[in-house]
Symmetry: C2
């Protein structure tokens, strides 16, 4: 058996274990009897440990390392080279972290999560502070283990968005922040559109969601839509990609908006090459590119005038006569209003929430601000960028779970997703004639086909920067997103 | 670390892998998107192979063997001795079968299952015959590998019902068959009770099922009720025991009867000692004892007059006024009518179906009949025991899937379950005063408590024969079942 086959076989084995873990995780969110939570945690840990242990097994590391030597690499096909290059990237990083460090970090974040939960409940940053200090120290240590050129932030960012750096982010987020700050001042002078109250039957919402998901191209024969408190997509295999949503009786968009967002993620996973399952050829590029797929469907398709024209008759068909017209719905879906909470933010101000977090994370890691000053810094930035006054820590610095998990370098991928989505949408709109008419008629196939060919079927062959350049003909820039968001405030 | 701790740790590890596989299997029956079937098969195989490989790993076999040596055994506590004795039983059997033999058997039964499916569809035994011949040869070979005293049948039976033998079965099934044959002649002279047609809303059936399951003692905080084509119970952990049912709009008992049956299985699993999870101390005794738990609830509780008195007002509450009275329902639930298909058989004639299969399986394994003659032998026995005429192989010898899976020695556990159930019920009825009144009032707690203490909490401490003797004070006999079934025909 050749070395490359050995590597591929082990990757597929690991991916199958990962799929088992995926089913268990999905089951935990959707079906788990409450008393089974502790035991399920044990089983999940066991599988996760098994996967980690095989992935960092010295023999496996050696195999990947050997294959990655230039003399061996050149004997492989182009596809095999992609596999080796990308896997070595992951393995190399994993093996640079001492086992003890990884264990200590897990222990720390378990305790930190509990502290954060309490801190948020009591709206008291002091409770979380000592843990956050240690987490930042350990993140800095991780960056040292992994290595970086300019900023320790780069080493963390790289896990979520390979090849992205703080320097590149500055070049993207700088103009974006400036232009959005101007938009916000314009927004504050407007009244916020609203919709008359209406009751949307939840069973009918489910039927509508299935219909729309199917129209968008989601294959329900290789997926399903369930309910969970936090909507998510889980990729078990391209033939088994499931999404969840949550329901509100008074706002159908709570469920349908989530469905469109998650369908975007799911279409990516259903569209990955099955043959490459388990290897980088069958994997998604990065979190940013993944997010671009959910955002392009949610915001660029789902909130467009053409989509509202397609949707409105479906709403009437499912829920009966509505107390508002189609154009009111369009305005309401595209309303903009600066607010305190990221997950409730509109499409325009959302990116400012991300930029606030990015700047603070980076400053913390580079020791430019102190954890003690974080709430003050947070509140100041929210005022500067969003013109909102933070009343307490729960509605401010403590609102997101991520830092308690030790996740630094992750938030930027949300806005990167928006940037990628805007640039992709602009290109698709130029490539496909009369895209609006197609959407209006419920025909999303040409749009999906473009994404399939240019993004989904590429697997992890290119990093995000290359992929965007290859597919749109231009390097990533913030112009398209700013144009798009501008139109939301002008309309 | 002591040897016994090592053994226990590995058992718990294996049990956790088994739980993961359990969730995957449940998910496959209840949720799986159709296109994901092939991939799921791969993942399940991988986990099953991993479990088998660890269980038959020479180091593990050696560990169990060493602990089972008399000089080592006597240094262990009584509980530890149970663990070692029972595990050695399983390991010893597994390691007696050559790897090649196990692989060949899997291949054979995969092909045999396909042949059986086609044969049943075309109602043509010839298609299945060559496979069945090979399966019987391999079962005989398996018996040789494992070893036996009197009949090769004993070696196969022992997997499902430890310590049971063909000789003991003869002593139980002989009188049972004779008495049931007499009952059948009496039944044939009676008219079969029926119920007026009525439509039972399926959502309401689900609500009723949950209510009854809860009343019987099923903990919905450690389980759930879903829908699947073939109802089943899956034991993931005592905190996660799930059941399924299927629905008919015109017959509420299709779903409720299944729920009561599966709740019987589930109460056993929810009642196993959590501390013993993964070891014989936290495991069920045998398939026969498991079946006794489902049958005691389904037939001895669920079809009793007292239960009907409890149920009838609930039916009216959930479905509205019914076109029949409580006593009609009781008679209908207890109707008896000889028929061709085992899975549709009533409580009385069911055991004759089992006895037909037992006698034929045993004769095949002992080379007393030929596979070529099997359909003829089948049809003759069905005529002799049940007075029914088999029209074709699909309604005769080909009706059950089990032989195509290579499963011989399994069918008897169904009737053993009935025998255990009858003897246990008789004892409980003597032990608990006014059991009927309690059932009538919806109070099933004292009944469940008796089972918890005498059966569930015992784990695999005793084999079925000992357990029944310990809990009822008498060796297993067929008197109680015959009395019970007699009452069904007389009433």
């Amino acid at each position: 058996m050749t070395k490359i086959s050995k590597l591929q076989d082990e990757l597929v084995y690991l991916a199958k274990l990962g799929s088992a873990l995926g089913v268990l995780s999905w089951d935990q969110e959707v079906n788990l009897p409450p008393k089974a939570l502790a035991f399920r945690g044990d089983v999940n840990s066991l599988l996760a440990a098994e996967i980690h242990s095989r992935f960092t097994n010295p023999k496996f590391v050696k195999l990947a390392q050997t294959l990655n030597r230039p003399d061996n690499l050149k004997q492989l096909t182009a596809d095999q080279q992609v596999i080796v290059r990308e896997i070595w990237r992951d393995v190399d990083r994993a093996q640079k972290l001492p086992v003890k460090f990884v264990e200590d970090f897990t222990k720390l974040t378990t305790a930190a999560f509990a502290a954060w939960s309490e801190a948020r409940k009591k709206s008291d940053f002091k409770i979380f502070k000592p843990y956050l200090k240690k987490i930042i120290q350990m993140c800095q240590q991780e960056a040292k283990y992994v290595g970086y050129k300019k900023s320790p932030y780069d080493a963390l960012l790289d896990v979520f968005e390979p090849d992205m750096t703080a320097e590149k982010l500055d070049a993207l987020f700088g103009p974006l922040a400036k232009d959005l700050a101007v938009l916000v001042t314009r927004v504050n002078k407007k009244t916020v559109p609203s919709l008359p109250k209406f009751k949307y039957d939840i069973t009918k919402q489910h039927v509508l969601n299935q219909r729309v998901a199917k129209d968008l191209g989601y294959d329900l024969g290789a997926g399903r839509i369930d309910e969970s408190p936090h909507p998510f997509t889980i990729d078990i295999h391209p033939t088994d990609v499931r999404i969840t949503t949550r329901y509100s009786e008074t706002d159908f968009w709570v469920s349908l908006g989530s469905v469109i967002h998650e369908v975007g993620h799911a279409l990516y996973e259903q569209g990955l090459p099955v043959k490459g399952f388990g290897t980088p050829l069958g994997s998604s590029v990065s979190l940013g590119v993944h997010e671009s797929q959910s955002r392009i469907w949610e915001n660029f398709v789902g909130r467009s005038q053409a989509f509202v024209d397609y949707l409105y008759p479906l709403l009437v068909k499912h829920f009966g006569k509505l107390p508002y017209k189609s154009d009111q719905l369009y305005k309401w879906l595209n309303r903009v209003q600066p607010s305190l909470i990221r997950v409730e933010a509109d499409e325009v101000t959302y990116n400012l929430h991300i930029i606030v977090r990015y700047e603070l994370e980076r400053a913390l890691l580079e020791n430019q601000i102190k954890v003690d000053d974080l709430p003050m810094q947070w509140n100041r930035k929210m005022k500067d960028y969003l013109s909102v006054k933070v009343p307490d820590d729960a509605h401010g610095v403590l609102q997101d779970i991520h830092w308690s998990h030790g996740t630094f370098g992750y938030f930027p991928t949300y806005s990167l997703g928006n940037l990628y989505a805007a640039q992709l949408f602009n290109k698709i709109n130029n490539d496909i004639p009369k895209l609006d008419d197609k959407f209006r008629g419920g025909n999303f196939r040409p749009f999906l086909k473009w994404l399939r060919v240019n993004i989904h079927q590429q697997g992890r062959r290119y990093h995000a920067g290359e992929l965007i350049k290859k597919s749109t003909g231009k390097s990533l820039n913030s112009i398209h997103l700013i144009d798009h968001l501008n139109s939301k405030v002008s309309s």
